[in-house]
Subunit: 157 residues, 2 copies
DNA sequence: TCAAGATGATAAGCAGGGCTATTTTAAGGC
DNA sequence: GCCTTAAAATAGCCCTGCTTATCATCTTGA
């Protein structure tokens, strides 16, 4: 067996999963799911987005966003307003009922960040952050390379 | 908008998602899913597990493992052997057809780890690792507290 | 011994992701 | 102006994961 406990990728994955599960449990007590909460937070920051824009922001497929919005709309948290200029599009807006939920999410986030940061020296924290960012850059640049390569292959150059 | 790009939790989450998606894409080219690959790797390390044991190892619910095994069995990669002593249980074993897949997974992992580590000084890498481990410990101890509290509440003490 | 509880597997139903394909509508190219 | 292409949303299907419930089978204690 590999020493997975000492593999940064594995630990990170584990930790992300733990945080995800914890958040899921809290969200459930509010009658929400994680995906729904994240969508609300993004809409709060930038109202009037189309579903495609939201999908790009969340880095998921438009169809996934569409179904999350279905539920948020049914729950009365979001409304789809037709775009006056482009009849293909819906503009997404929060409704008043979403405000208490958003407040809960913000409280949960602030408390969590404070608790995790507590007891970890700033320089260590920042170092961890910078290493993760470096890895992320690498992955993103690799993905870009791959995308460029496939594009070239498709165009036949 | 919060400075999410500088929030360790968000970056970690993002990065974990990126790695997950990348692996999913590769697994798909082999005709596999990530969950199936992970199950194969665990079974390789410890053949003869029951589904419950595998579920505990993967930290998912037994029903989830059951369905993954359904597919792996249908594909001829795994077999369920009845336990001679306990007729409730199935013992899981790899079949020969799984060997090439396992080799691909191992190659992918080794290459990925090497690439991410490349260019990051060892001390930085280890610092990042230790910060993540500290956060993980905190979350786990909090969960334990919560579990103990609910247990106390249930038992009426 | 036998009834009650614990455990392994599975089913049903819901939610969130993905992929592929379709429909409707805009935007450009001729 | 017409025709082709691109974009927005959606439908259908699959896989994974959760919760809750069911069934069969141990295991244990009165």
């Amino acid at each position: 067996m590999q020493p997975n406990d000492q593999d940064l990728a594995f630990v990170m994955h584990d930790l992300a999963r733990l945080m995800r599960v914890r958040f899921d449990q809290h969200a459930r007590t509010w009658g929400m799911t994680r995906a729904q909460c994240v969508a609300l937070m993004k809409l709060k920051c930038r109202p009037g987005m189309s579903q495609s824009e939201l999908a790009a922001l969340l880095e998921v497929e438009p169809i996934t966003v569409g179904r999350v919005i279905d539920r948020l709309e049914a729950a009365g948290f979001v409304e789809r307003r037709p775009d006056p200029a482009d009849r293909r599009m819906h503009r997404l807006h929060l409704r008043d009922a979403a405000a208490p939920i958003i407040e809960k999410i913000d409280e949960y986030r602030a408390a969590g960040i404070a608790r995790f940061h507590d007891g970890v020296p700033d320089e260590d924290w920042n170092m961890a952050l910078s290493v993760l960012l470096r890895i992320k850059e690498k992955i993103l640049s690799e993905s870009a390379d791959t995308a460029a390569a496939s594009a070239t292959a498709v165009s036949g150059e």
